[in-house]
Amino acid sequence: MRFIFEYIKKYKIQCLIGPLFKVFEVVFELLVPLIIKNIIDKGIENNDTSYIRNSVLLLIAFSIIGFSCTLLAQYMSAYSAVNICSDMREDAFSKVLSFRNRDIDKIGTSRILTTLTSDINQIQVGINLALRLLLRSPFVVLGAVIMALLIDVKISILYVLVVLILAVIIVLNFRRSVPKYRAVRTELDNVVTETDDGLNGVRVIRGFTQTENETKNFKIHTEELNNLQKASARITTILNPLTFLIVNLFLCILIYSGAFEVSLGSLTRGEVVALYNYMGQILVELIKLTNLIIQISRALACSNRVSTLIGTKESPVITEYGSCEELLNFSDVSFSYNDDESYALKDISFSLRKGESIGIIGKTGSGKSTLGSLIARSYMPTGGEIRYKDGIPPKIGYAMQKTRLFSGTASYNIGLGREDVTSEDIDNAINTACCDDFIKSVDMEIKESGKNLSGGQRQRLNIARAISSRPEILILDDSSASLDAITENKLIDKINSISGMSKIIISQKIKSVKNCDKIIVLDEGNIVSSGDHEALLKDCSIYKEMYALQTKEASL
């Protein structure tokens, strides 16, 4: 609740004007039964045709004024609802952009996407309806009660009773339905995940002949969703007929006691008709209100999800860095993905000078890529300290191991709209990353996640993207795994020829790192040895073993 109000604040005036003019509309509506009463009691009773005519003209005037009020009110509520939710969406998106990788891992992308799209859409529908009707309905009800009070105090007690009983029912129902609906949304997330899996894993699912199982599995989730939806609807469905029943029961009592009073002469016929009309208005409004309550409870369940997302505390980011002599200095840096004792990296210390190249090599799962993402500041260390020259992090170009491209042109994919990348930089990057053989024009269309390129082509584009901003440190994480040896050699030569750029080259191939100024050998998250190729061949058993295996294959 409070969460939505934060956003309403900015549109205070619109959010006040809307319902206010709705209230004006109601006032004119409420006067109608009164006029009719006068037509019956005064006009008809006294055969006064001119009184009747004037009253009718008043009726018409009222509907025109009411209509103008509505116009203004509808516009204000549409305006507020759309803008409030767009603000909310943009805020949520900014928040998501500020998430560290581990936050995204934890929340899950399907959840983020449904929240940003369908949850916020539900809220928009809810706010729009609420602004239009939430104030209107209680006001009509209250107005009707007051009007009844003006006509006959005794009988109006019935109105108060009806309103109280229904208020209790609505509140109770509301409390039960919100959590149920939230469960529906959570299960919908699962259906989204299954759909996503089914689409992205199409080859593996078919390759392992699992289509039938996956379909069965999907159906289990839709079945569960179906059950939850029905359970949630079961609660809200009762509201509508129950309101109808209660209001009409009171209507019967009203007519009976009204008739009794007429026979005593304490009420007129016109007054009974008016009372009946007011009860009728209450009924119509309450039924609208119950429908509104269902919508609002959904919107609230959704707003809970949005506020949880926006309120997620992102993992802490270090902004103040110590300074050091070199470009970059790691001292005793440790890192754990789950913030526990299972360290992916432990006590890592090394430094990188300007223009220097460092190779990182090690077995699968030894922490190479993790070290790369720490250097790129994708993750923050859980222990130790990273320092930079003058305390300012250098510009980094990071070619991740597994990467996704954007839909758009080749030039967008390389430049990514960064201000510091010129079109000349893009051309150079295409050349350096050996992309010229498949990027004939910078305007070449790249499909979503690079579907129209081969694995090796995607990798080269990924490298072009990293070097185009002329970074101080270039990190290449296993960037040539899908390249054939000839293209790979060409690429290595070209990258080595870039001068003045410090390089971190992560690989499991000795060949890729052996020309580096320094090579760090990782094993199970620890630096087991470091030095240049020759030194490592002498001292490091893992390196020696790798070298032996790789030269054996070369000399075979």
Binding site: I40, I44, T49, I52, V56, L59, S63, I64, F67, A78, A81, V82, N83, S86, R100, N101, D105, T109, L113, L116, T117, D197, G198, L199, N200, G201, V202, R203, R206, G207, F218, N226, T237, I238, N240, P241, F244, N248, I255, Y256, A259, S263, V273, Y276, S342, I361, T364, G365, K402, G417, S449, K451, S454, A481, D484, A485, Q508, M546, E553, S555
Partner: protein, 578 residues
């Protein structure tokens, strides 16, 4: 809106969701009963008003009240039943639609799925299906209720005062016309609205999947600005569309107000001249309001109907896409694993041949390595062998039998594949390792045994929940190399006759690879294996090495022969030696 389209769509929807047809009919009948009963209440109330003279007959009042009372109770119960039926129809239909749309994924050609964006199919399954079930069936019900109400009210009004009833009836078409014109004029705005929303969703979908890249390149601001741009357009369009569509109701209400006033005027004059009673006037006024309400609703229903019909059309178009996969089991056959390609030609776009007249024989039990520059058609060959794609001409034979004679399921159950892109189901590691296992009695010991050989156990052991840990396609603490090991493990466990490794160990280090090489060699023993690799160690001991370029085989033979030939392979070999 074309009526034929509506009825056709409706019949198809109801056919899909079993039991919904009778439910819908029943619900419409209930709607008819409840609206008639609800409408009789003001009629009887009018009767009571006429009794309210100086000398009230309380007995007669009570009789009428009892009528009203029974109507109320029956209506409440029936409304409850009707609403229950309605939500059941709606939720069951959305489930059936989603299930069919998901099943369809599995029957569509791979090419369709790879060409279409994941986001658009996903939005079809998640959003469009819901719009259809919510909109179409519910608004249909409203339509019928409205229609019945209009007819019943008119009849009652006619009974009370036929002159006034006729007057109201004559004005009705005018109201309908006004709303129809109005709705048509805002239709363009509604369409613009839904396309703006689609653009926004598509953008968010892509960016959320690319969050890692956005962070890495520090382009949060420019991406955020892009959303703001898209959103600014969206805001304008959405405010307009929302406002305009919320105008239908008040406009007709204005019109109704006028009619109401007119009825009051003529009615009151008629009472004075003795043409009708005050009670009749009060009922007539009540009916004039109820008469107009369904007309309002029906006009609202029309816009919702056309919206959901458009969605339904989109869903059916998708469901009617040509299928290439049949889920039949086929007859089980035994495989030796002799593979032969005969004049195989394939093209993705119909212009450039990615595979160009390829002929190749792979005897059962041999290991063939395929090498060549990126984009030369290696992975395409696997696509054809697995029948993810069908060749343009030529054929593939296994044991001398064209693979098109086999059911795809049978073919694939004999082939174990380690694809280039490692994909795992969002599920436990255990479930993923056992993904292709058909026999049921696989124990944890079996899993651990092979996992140990393949170097999987050593890292799974360190995860908090071990084999019960959920693996997703984005989980960061499992490295790419480890994923590849898992992927090999998965293929290994399915115990296939033919094994396909597409760059299966490209991210695995030499030591680990060396360790698992013997396991892989063991795995390959007695099986036909096709290996795509860039690593010399994986290629070198193949029985045959095939060098591909531009969809053709340019060299083939064993390592020694090819090195001596001095062609592409020997150049490749020299690059390794550098």
């Amino acid at each position: 809106m074309r009526k034929k389209g509506l009825i056709k769509t409706l019949i198809r929807l109801l056919k899909m969701s079993k039991g919904s047809g009778p439910k819908l009919v029943f619900s419409i009948i209930l709607a008819a009963i409840t609206s008639v009963l609800t409408l009789l209440i003001p009629y009887f109330f009018g009767k009571i008003v006429d009794l309210l003279t100086d000398d009230v007959d309380m007995g007669e009042v009570l009789t009428y009240l009892l009528f009203i009372l029974s109507f109320i109770v029956i209506t409440s119960v029936l409304t409850y039943v009707m609403n229950t039926l309605n939500y059941m129809i709606s939720y069951d239909t959305v489930k059936r639609l989603r299930d069919s749309a998901y099943e369809k994924i599995n029957r569509l050609p791979v090419s369709y799925i790879e060409k279409t964006s994941v986001g658009s199919v996903e939005s079809l399954i998640i959003n469009d299906c819901e719009t259809v079930s919510d909109g179409l069936l519910v608004s249909l019900n409203q339509f019928f209720t409205g229609l019945i109400t209009i007819i019943v009210v008119f009849v009652i009004m006619f009974v009370i005062n036929w002159r006034l009833a006729l007057l109201i009836a004559l004005i009705t078409p005018v109201t309908l016309l006004i709303t129809a014109v109005f709705i048509r004029s805002i239709n363009d705005h509604l369409k613009a609205h839904s396309s703006a929303k689609g653009k926004q969703t598509g953008f968010l979908n892509e960016m959320i999947n690319n969050l890692r890249e956005i962070r890495t390149f520090g382009i949060e601001k420019s991406i955020k600005d892009k959303l703001t741009d898209i959103d600014n357009d969206y805001r304008k369009i959405a405010v307009k569309a929302t406002f305009l569509s919320s105008l239908v109701n008040p406009s007709t209400r204005l019109f109704n107000g006028t009619i109401y006033a007119l009825v009051a005027l003529l009615g009151a004059l008629s009472v004075i001249s003795g043409g009708m009673t005050v009670g009749a006037l009060s009922s007539l006024l009540a009916y004039a309001t109820t008469y107009m309400k369904p007309i309002n609703e029906i006009s609202g229903v029309f816009s919702e109907l056309s919206d959901s019909l458009a969605c339904a059309a989109r869903i059916f178009e998708y469901l009617d896409e040509e299928e290439t996969e049949r889920l039949d089991k086929g007859t089980i056959v035994t495989f030796d694993g002799d593979i032969e390609l005969r004049d195989l030609v394939f093209s993705y776009d119909g212009t450039r041949n990615v595979i160009d007249k390829m002929n190749l024989k792979i005897p059962s039990g041999t290991k063939v390595a395929i090498v060549g520059p990126t984009g030369c058609g290696k992975t395409t060959l696997i696509n054809l062998l697995m029948r993810f794609y069908e060749p343009v001409s030529g054929e593939i034979l296994i044991d001398g039998r064209p693979i098109n004679d086999l059911s795809k399921n049978v073919l694939r159950s004999h082939v174990g594949m380690v694809p280039q892109d490692t994909w795992f189901k969002t599920a436990t590691i255990r479930r993923n390792i056992l993904y292709g296992v058909h026999r049921k009695e696989t124990t944890d010991e079996d899993i651990i045994k092979t996992s140990k050989i393949l170097g999987v156990h050593s890292f799974v052991r360190n995860l908090p929940r071990k084999y019960d840990e959920i693996i997703t396609s984005k989980r960061e603490d499992i490295s790419d190399g480890q994923r590849q090991l898992l992927s090999i493990d998965r293929a290994f466990m399915s115990d296939p006759e033919i094994l396909i490794l597409d760059e299966a160990t490209s991210s695995v280090d030499a030591i680990t690879e060396n360790k698992i090489t013997s396991a892989v060699r063991m795995l390959c023993k007695g099986r036909t294996s096709v290996i795509i690799a860039h690593r010399l160690s994986t290629i070198i001991d193949a029985d045959m090495i095939v060098v591909m370029d531009k969809g053709r085989i340019i060299e083939s033979g064993d390592h020694e022969t090819l090195v001596k030939q001095g062609g592409y392979y020997s150049k490749l070999y020299d690059s390794f030696m550098q």
